[in-house]
């Protein structure tokens, strides 16, 4: 079974847990004491991942330390439709968004660690870079809506959406409001409405009112 070294509050770990749930792959979760223990920076952990980052995926003799690579692996194995359309342009766009998700992590993700777990750093710069990245995401999603699309690439959700979703949806945790980004908000709601969606702290599931109230 695939093993995932995991931290419950990590947006990058959640990205992989979410993808696995969406394609129906079960993983063995190995909790790492990221906070307050900083076990990911220990000597023992460095033997697994010298970079000292989470998540880490182990499957047989394969070790992955980049969450976007894990998304590719899970999709290729259990849900190839999540890789996006096969044409050259779409494949390149998916790669573009996978790389872009790193910018969300480096800005909104760091602002969140600062505000929540007291990480030291330039909070104003992180928030400003986060807004810049959200503007790009908002513009792209709005263009897609004008063209009748709902997802970042193609007609169905893909690893591009899953890669960008967690840090965008958690931006409020780092003091960055999504008020100015309606297309991003609608898109996060679409992702939360997917079959087999799972939540994480800070990203709540959609609660359906049952029975549905009658509209007069």
């Amino acid at each position: 079974m695939i093993q995932l070294y995991d931290y419950v509050l990590s947006a990058s770990c959640y990205k992989v847990r979410l993808m696995a749930a969406l394609v129906g792959v079960k993983m063995d979760l190995e909790a790492v004491d990221f906070h307050p223990g900083r076990a990911h920076k220990s000597v023992e952990f460095a033997q697994l991942n010298p970079a000292g980052t989470l998540p880490v995926m182990v499957d047989g003799d394969m070790i992955l330390t980049e969450s976007t690579a894990m998304l590719v692996y899970l999709a290729k194995r259990a849900g190839p439709q999540w890789l996006g359309p096969d044409d050259a342009k779409s494949a390149a766009q998916v790669q573009q968004w996978l790389a872009f998700s790193g910018r969300l992590a480096a800005s909104l993700g760091m602002a969140r660690l600062h505000d929540m777990l007291l990480y030291k750093g330039d909070i104003d710069a992180w928030r400003a870079q986060g807004h810049a990245a959200l503007r790009e995401l908002e513009a792209a999603l709005t263009e897609r809506r004008f063209a009748g699309g709902e997802w970042l690439v193609g007609d169905t959700p893909s690893i591009a959406d899953i890669a960008c979703f967690p840090n965008a949806a958690l931006s409020q945790d780092g003091g960055v409001s999504l008020d100015a980004y309606p297309s991003v908000r609608l898109w996060t709601r679409r992702i939360r409405a997917l079959d087999r969606f799972i939540e994480m702290p800070g990203i709540h599931r959609l609660h359906e009112l049952s029975p549905t109230p009658k509209v007069a």
């Binding site: 909790a31 906070h35 307050p36 800070g202 709540h204």
Partner: protein, 280 residues
């Protein structure tokens, strides 16, 4: 001007193990800068006016910026030899420290915020329970609380009806006692220790004293952090920001008995830091 009653209470200011490991914590208490550090083997908390009263208990460093009105509250269970003591680590929340405590005392939100863990629809009813302000200890206690929980603890397998007791032991510290899935004759003990940085910002230190010999430490920490972080986004969006101590726009229900007692207790004792007195 901060009321003397507020200054004379104990507040958590650091995780003791981190300070003992040589970390120096520069932080705030009641809007004033403080430093927590190790000096010649002793933990010292220094504010602008000099050293504060310090005590170490339940994995944390506690400080009193005034003259302590009483000793720090006791948690006798913390001394039981077989319990696992778990320091969960700090989480900062942009909310009134009193709201952080009040949220900890609330049961009704379980099915909606901690869905499929501490509660689940349609089991949303809060059964009747009892609340009292105990004269001897001057603490708020809620007893005979019961709630259906799909996964009451990391060690729980399947849903159980969990029994709870809640206790407000200090203005910004509360302790709960809940059914221990591993032992019928003991309670699990979970504390929430809230450091008021300002009236609208706090550092929260969850802490646990459990009977659980099996679950790895990292999983116990992750479970409790998951629970608390599900609350965080709710807490940061509560309005008004300060906890109202006078009845106004809010209409409490039967399920809010503990919260009402907590607010009355704060008001009676003049513990108004992080509260608003005018009706909301």
């Amino acid at each position: 001007m901060i009321a003397q009653e507020v200054l004379n209470e104990w507040y958590p200011v650091a995780m003791a193990a981190q300070i003992r490991a040589g970390q120096r914590r520069v932080t705030q208490l009641l809007g004033q800068p403080i430093t927590v550090e190790l000096q010649k083997g002793a933990i010292v908390v220094t504010g602008q006016g000099g050293a504060l009263h310090v005590t170490e208990a339940y994995g944390h460093v506690w400080a009193c910026p005034g003259t302590p009105a009483h000793d720090l509250f006791p948690i006798p269970e913390a001394l039981e030899p077989c319990r696992r003591l778990v320091d969960v680590g700090v989480v900062r929340v942009k909310c009134s420290p009193l709201r952080a405590v009040e949220n900890f005392l609330d049961i009704a939100h379980f099915p909606f915020v901690h869905t499929d863990v501490l509660g689940a629809e349609p089991h949303t009813e809060v059964n009747r329970y009892e609340v009292q302000i105990r004269e001897d200890s001057d603490e708020v206690w809620a007893t005979k609380v019961t709630f259906y929980q799909p996964q009451a603890a990391k060690s729980a397998e399947g849903g159980i009806v969990t029994q709870y007791m809640y206790r407000v032991a200090a203005p910004t510290a509360a302790v709960l006692y809940k059914t221990c899935p591993n032992r019928t004759d003991a309670w699990d003990v979970i504390g929430i220790f809230v450091q008021p940085l300002t009236e609208e910002l706090c550092d929260v230190w969850p802490w646990m004293a459990l009977y659980d010999d099996v679950t790895p430490q990292a999983e116990l920490i992750a479970f409790q952090q998951m629970i608390f972080l599900q609350d965080r986004s709710i807490l940061e969006n509560q309005i008004p920001r300060l906890l109202p101590l006078d009845p106004g726009m809010e209409i409490p229900t039967q399920a809010d008995l503990t919260s009402i007692a907590y607010r009355r207790w704060l008001k009676k004792r003049g513990l108004t830091y992080g509260a608003q007195m005018v009706a909301a």
